[in-house]
């Protein structure tokens, strides 16, 4: 396990591993998302309360899941890079940030389109919506901090540190769902909860969740490869790989 981890920390090895994994992730993602969309949109029964509007869950929940997973992955990669001075960690963190930010935006937009028919408004200052918006701002901060430095190494380290500091904030904003509601009157009650779903609704959702995870893996692999190429462009192994 430890040796495996160490080998993965070497840029050429990670570059090759990511390249080998990409088609598998992409293939699994295509199958799972394709099945989930068709089954979820066409064949799953409509919800007895929400009718067909509930079908938005098939893109909303996986997006929201990836928005949190992407941030955590980014922060963990940054922490590994900072603590053990493993440089490819910065490449992974830099690759994960834009993917996570895009899915945060997707979760916000699809959630807002779901909110209109259900609560009668596109946007409510509900804790969960607000915390997701804060997550988007955290992503923006991390991405722009990396770009603000002329020295890329310094930008990497600074944004990794900010990512770690921000991850402390994620559970705080997340749990404020309960605190804020109990303190503030008149908050919109979310009816998303965790209803007991019949299997015909649940299977496409699980497929979409797994499919989005695989999609994240595939895109992350391609981006990590691009980051490694750019960062290591002076090294001989990159030149051999590209010239071949």
């Amino acid at each position: 396990m430890w040796r495996w981890f160490h080998r993965l920390a070497s840029p050429p090895h990670l570059y090759r591993t990511a390249g080998a994994l990409t088609p598998w992730f992409a293939f699994a993602a295509a199958i799972l998302i394709g099945y989930g969309l068709v089954d979820g949109l066409a064949f799953a029964p409509p919800d007895y309360q929400q009718g067909d509007a509930f079908r938005i869950i098939y893109v909303h929940a996986p997006s929201a899941w990836l928005s949190l997973f992407g941030y955590t992955a980014m922060a963990v990669a940054g922490a590994i890079a900072l603590i053990w001075r493993i440089k490819v960690g910065y490449a992974v963190a830099a690759a994960a940030a834009p993917i996570g930010a895009s899915f945060t935006l997707s979760a916000l937009v699809t959630g807002s389109l779901w909110g209109r028919p259900m609560w009668g408004t596109y946007w409510a200052w509900d804790p969960r919506l607000t915390s997701e918006l804060i997550l988007l701002f955290l992503y923006f901060g991390v991405i722009s901090l990396r770009k603000a430095f002329e020295d890329p190494g310094r930008g990497d380290r600074a944004s990794a540190l900010l990512g770690i500091v921000g991850v402390v904030n994620v559970p705080i904003v997340h749990f404020s769902v309960y605190w804020w509601n109990s303190l503030h009157q008149g908050g919109t009650v979310m009816r998303l909860g965790k209803p007991e779903m019949p299997g015909s609704m649940l299977w496409p959702l699980l497929a979409m969740l797994a499919g989005f995870m695989c999609f994240f893996g595939a895109v992350l692999c391609v981006r990590v490869r691009a980051e490694i190429l750019t960062r290591e462009r002076q090294s001989t192994w990159v030149r051999e790989v590209v010239a071949a």
């Binding site: 949109l41 509007a53 935006l105 190429l229 030149r239």
Partner: protein
Amino acid sequence: MIRGGFWAMGGYARFVWPSIGFAVAVLLWNIWSARRHHARALVRVRRAIQMARSEES
């Protein structure tokens, strides 16, 4: 299942289809942007190789 009924989404078509569309657009953007990054990185490396060669000669 009637075709019209499917696209109408029980009257929620206005909300269901744009949100599916947006999510699919995000997926496609991710694919496009990752591939573009990779292509640009390759161009950069090739340029670095060429510069190194021209310095040698």
